[in-house]
């Protein structure tokens, strides 16, 4: 199969590869997929507690070129967004940006899941640390 130039670019020059400290209260970690399926994505976000803006994001992925590109792109897109803006990212936008063929659409779905999982994890941590604030924000 032939890959789009953007997928190849992300594959050769992945953005934001790495790990953050899981225990940091400002870090949300999403781990989605399963080795048996051939796709596992770990996406982490570092959120500014005052502004709820995602200041940094990192990823690591076990999967095909399209999966790597989808998660790399996801880290690019969430950076600088607020939590709510990041939650609005749809897998279809990833499909469009990377020109993913139908057989690879599930990679974009997993990337969207990874974003949500990271945000979900961060939210859980916030609820534990500053419950009142979080309640008000809901």
């Amino acid at each position: 199969m032939s890959y789009s130039d953007k997928v190849i670019d992300h594959y050769n020059n992945p953005r934001n590869v790495g790990s953050m400290d899981k225990k940091d209260s400002d870090v949300g970690t999403g781990l989605v997929g399963a080795p048996e399926c051939g796709d596992v994505m770990k996406l982490q976000i570092k959120v500014n507690p005052q502004t709820n803006v995602i200041e940094d994001a990192k990823f690591k992925t076990f999967g095909c070129g399209s999966a790597i590109a989808s998660s790399s792109l996801a880290t690019e897109w969430v950076k600088g967004k607020t939590i709510d803006e990041a939650l609005a990212i749809k897998n279809t936008e990833i499909v469009k940006e990377l020109a993913l063929p139908p057989v690879k659409i599930h990679c974009s779905v997993l990337a969207e899941d990874a974003i949500r999982a990271a945000i979900g994890d961060w939210k859980k941590k916030q609820e534990a640390v500053r419950p009142a604030e979080m309640q008000a924000a809901q």
């Binding site: 080795p35 770990k42 057989v103």
Partner: protein, 429 residues
């Protein structure tokens, strides 16, 4: 993917330089189990039969036919010689898939009164498995023998499986994915003792390792040209005529060619090529198999001495000399192929298959799906060189290392996490 042949200056989109001082031509072809480039001597043998000696080998009344027939008969001899058979026992088909179909359906139909039980193995080629599945719809009972961790069939399992309704055992001589060699002589002996017809798909084995239909008690064997530096679309089926005589019901009617077993005008150029490929293999196999094994072992050592958690799939002892099938833990196969896109190999990963299922052969070995997704099959062949082996090894090591830096699984494993105990969030597939 570009098919231009270039000399090896850094052509892949990589940051690093690739040391390749030997002027290797890219892309490198190392997928010789999928198909093989034609040997120039084979092409030379075939050419006259397209334009000058173009006759129909069944035309009995003029030299055009006789000349074509001569070529066909020479090929028959050459193929027979390679497997220790007699020329009369070779019939020509369009390829291995047709040969497998003809063998299995043909024997099943012929011996139907005697019994309806067929035995095969889970690691067979789809041409065999799908044919068996088809027969199950028509009143045949099929036993699919499991294989051991090394990919070999357990002879005791086979012994137990044969009953008084068994009419056919079909087990491949060499596996196309993992290169494993089945104990054909022992299987043949057992079948002969129990009066069961023994068919073997010998496609990957022919010309690479010795196959002798008498020493191995083979009754029917499938052969094709394009795995042996010969043409595509030209295959053969060996059908035993003596001790015992095996008969089969043809699949194709229409003129009664090939002793009534396979009607249709013969593909004379293809057959000439197939015969020549077999003759070359006969001559060169002893030295060539040593050279293949040396290159394969060099590749294996070069990779495994520089990477940890790399596993060979299937028996290392009972294996085709040119085959190496390895899993690189924590790295997915398709992403690995993408990183070595100037090298043609294949993978057992689901992402690379049409059905999105990981390799059923690797599954049958008990390899976990994750390692199946991480497997690469290298098929080294006659035209590969040591320089190519070294280049491939370097690129593989470099790409695996890079992908492991990207891999959350590698990170977790290094942290001491037991990946098998993790509760993975099931994803929507």
């Amino acid at each position: 993917m570009s098919t231009d042949v270039k000399t090896a200056t850094p052509t892949s989109q990589h940051n690093g330089q690739h040391p390749n001082p030997n002027g290797i031509k890219l892309p490198i072809y190392m997928d010789n189990h999928a198909t093989t480039p034609m040997d120039p001597r084979v092409l030379e043998e075939m050419l006259p039969y397209f334009m000058e000696k173009f006759g129909n080998s069944a035309s009995r009344n003029h030299p055009f036919g006789w000349v074509a027939e001569e070529a066909v008969e020479l090929s028959r001899e050459r193929i027979a010689k390679l497997i220790g058979a007699s020329a009369k026992e070779i019939i020509f088909t369009s390829g291995a898939t047709e040969s497998d179909n003809l063998a299995i359906k043909g024997v099943a139909e012929m011996y139907r009164e005697k019994g309806n039980h067929i035995i095969t193995a889970v690691t067979e080629h789809k041409a065999v498995l799908d044919t068996c599945k088809h027969l199950e719809k028509y009143g045949f009972r099929v036993t699919y023998l499991p294989v051991q961790k090394d990919g070999l069939v357990d002879l005791d399992d086979l012994k137990r499986a044969i009953d008084d309704k068994t009419i056919l055992v079909t087990i491949m001589a060499a596996n196309n994915e993992i290169g494993v060699l089945q104990p054909i002589a022992e299987i043949g002996k057992l079948c002969r003792e129990r009066g069961v017809v023994f068919h073997t798909d010998a496609v990957q084995a022919i010309g690479k390792v010795p196959v002798d239909v008498n020493k191995m008690s083979i009754d029917v064997a499938s052969i094709t040209g394009h795995k042996l530096y010969g043409p595509k679309g030209a295959g053969a089926l060996y059908v035993r005529r003596k001790n015992p005589r095996v008969q089969l019901v043809p699949l194709i009617d229409g003129g009664g060619h090939e002793r009534g077993m396979r009607s249709g005008t013969l593909n004379v150029p293809g057959i000439a090529g197939l015969g020549k490929a077999c003759a070359i293999a006969q001559e060169e196999m002893p030295l060539e198999s040593v050279r293949m094994a040396a290159m394969r072992d060099r590749l294996k050592h070069s990779i495994m001495s520089r990477l940890d958690e790399v596993y060979v799939n299937g028996s290392e002892e009972h294996r085709l000399p040119g085959n190496l099938n390895i899993s690189f833990a924590y790295v997915e196969g398709e992403s690995l192929l993408m990183g070595i896109n100037d090298i043609a190999v294949s993978s057992g990963s689901a992402c690379t298959s049409a059905t999105l299922e990981p390799s059923y052969v690797l599954k049958a070995l008990g390899t976990g799906d994750d390692l199946a997704h991480s497997s690469i099959r290298f098929g080294i062949g006659r035209f590969n060189t040591e320089a190519e082996i070294d280049y491939v090894a370097d690129r593989v090591v470099e790409t695996v290392s890079r992908l492991r830096e990207l891999s959350p699984l590698y990170e977790m494993a290094k942290e001491g996490v037991d990946l098998k105990s993790v509760k993975w969030a099931a994803e929507a597939h």
